[in-house]
Amino acid sequence: MLQVRDLHAYYGQSHILHGVHIEVNEGEIVSLLGRNGVGRSTTCKAIMGLVDPVGQVIYKGKDLAGLRTDLVARAGIGYVPEDRQVFPTLTVRQNLELGLKRANKFGRWTFDDVFRLFPNLAARQNNPAGVLSGGEQQMLTMCRTLMGDPDLILIDEPTEGLAPLLVEQVGVLLAEIASRGVAILLVEQKLTIALKISHRLYVMGHGQIVFEGTPADLAANPQVRQEWLEV
């Protein structure tokens, strides 16, 4: 479904991604692991066209590299950034509405789905999103992107800074996303969720993929964990 080939990216003079290869198949959950600053978020941004990509981003047979961000999104890739980026002055419901690519055009996800999964958001649907708690904002950003009915969703560090109970909620939502046939590329630093739900994993270091395999492979490879993951 998604094949990222030899992807490079730059911030001004500094070379961030050094030829990243990633593959995600239909309905698959793939995790992209690694320490802070190794280029996981930049990989997502380069796929989305938020950072200029050099290389190939083949999605459903078409090369999306260099397309404008909204066209990448309309091709069917959703993106949940790590800093959440809810629209603070708009209400919860308006945030979700802007997730729709066209007014009142629903795909796999409706307002009811979101409000059933997260009663908190339902109760606050007319409040400005800026006043939500960090956890609620995280759920809102994910749901907002889902409203656009992507076939593949890139989720950057959804559990960062969340209490264990909320991390569990994120896990439930990820399972729900997968059950509706949406492929997930999950960026994580911690292994908790990733090991549990992923079909395959990539580990990044210094702007490159340094390990690729199943959760079992990673569990059996303490050297990779020690060198590239554990702090």
Partner: protein, 315 residues
């Protein structure tokens, strides 16, 4: 008393005119990070276009046609100018709009000459609406209030009640995210830029015959509008509105206040006299430094509250 009421109304008229200009500028500024120096030039174009159209078709068609022309010019500036310069950073954009000021200024002088245009209030609105204790309030000022209030209401409805408005609001703070949700951000930028220029043009149409339509009007209006935007705070239309009204009031009231600082302390028994600098400064009547007050206030707000009255980020 009559001076107070009439000044209040005049301040409101002028404040609303300022808001029509400043609202467009603050939207453009907060979305694109570009301080559009040419915004007041578009205001001037609005006045000249209105004069030209009113010569052939009369004032009321001009009220519609001139702002649309300004909006189209705004769209052209964004698509063929700013968007290309954008890749080279904010300084390049700033210099680009700075250049536009001179191009538009010269173009106006070459087309219409250096003298003020005979652009007058339409006869049908040229009568005193009411008089208070002998002071007249012209009907045209009431008409200006009506037009600007109508524009304010429709802009507000557009921004808060429509989907396009929501996308614009979201793009003010998170343009990247709006794009990642599949919305065409460049088109949003063009729309906002054109909309801001349309508002500036409309302000020109109703301001051109309220003040005078002449080549210096852009330079006269530009600095005040910047002060309003900075004072109100970036990204906040509400702050911009309050700042516009405050500035309008200050400018009209300052003209009629004949007191000086020395007069305020006189009842306390403190009298300044003699031929020294302090006495001279303190005895200047407010009316004479009225034009200076907005800038003093801008400096003050930059010192004590850099994000402006209701701004969401530092200037």
């Amino acid at each position: 008393m009559e001076v107070f009421v009439i000044s209040l109304l005049n301040g409101l008229v002028y404040g609303m005119l300022l808001f029509m200009l400043a609202s467009g500028l603050t939207l453009i500024f907060s979305m694109m990070g570009v301080l559009n120096f040419a915004h007041a030039s578009i205001y001037m174009l609005g006045a000249y276009f209105a004069y030209q159209v009113s010569v052939f078709l009369g004032f009321f068609p001009a009220l519609i046609i001139a702002p649309i022309l300004c909006g189209l010019i705004g769209a052209a500036i964004e698509v063929w100018g700013l968007r290309r310069v954008h890749h080279n950073g904010h300084i390049a954009e700033l210099l680009f709009t700075f250049g536009l000021v001179f191009i538009i200024g010269r173009a106006v002088q070459m087309t219409w000459g250096m003298l003020p245009m005979p652009y007058r209030v339409p006869a049908i609105l040229d009568f005193p609406l009411f008089s208070l204790y002998g002071a007249n309030f012209p009907a045209y000022r009431a008409f200006m209030l009506l037009v600007s209030a109508g524009m304010l209401a429709s802009t507000w409805l557009l921004l808060t009640k429509t989907r396009v408005g929501l996308i614009i609001q979201a793009s003010l703070t998170h343009p990247g995210m709006v794009g990642a949700l599949g919305h065409n951000v460049p088109v949003v930028f063009t729309t906002v830029f054109a909309g801001g220029c349309l508002l500036a043009g409309l302000a020109g149409v109703i301001g051109g015959n309220y003040q005078t339509t002449e080549p210096g009007m852009a330079e006269a209006m530009g600095p005040i509008v910047f002060v309003v935007v900075v004072f109100g705070g970036l990204g906040s239309l509400a702050g911009c509105f309050i700042a516009s009204i405050i500035m309008g009031m200050i400018q009209t009231f300052a003209v009629v206040i004949d007191y000086s600082l020395a007069d305020i302390v006189k009842p306390l028994g403190i009298v300044f006299s003699g031929d020294n600098l302090l006495t001279e400064i303190l005895t200047v009547p407010v009316a004479r430094i009225g034009a200076l007050l907005p800038f003093v206030m801008m400096v003050a707000i930059l010192f004590f509250r850099p994000r402006g009255l209701m701004g969401t980020r530092d200037t």
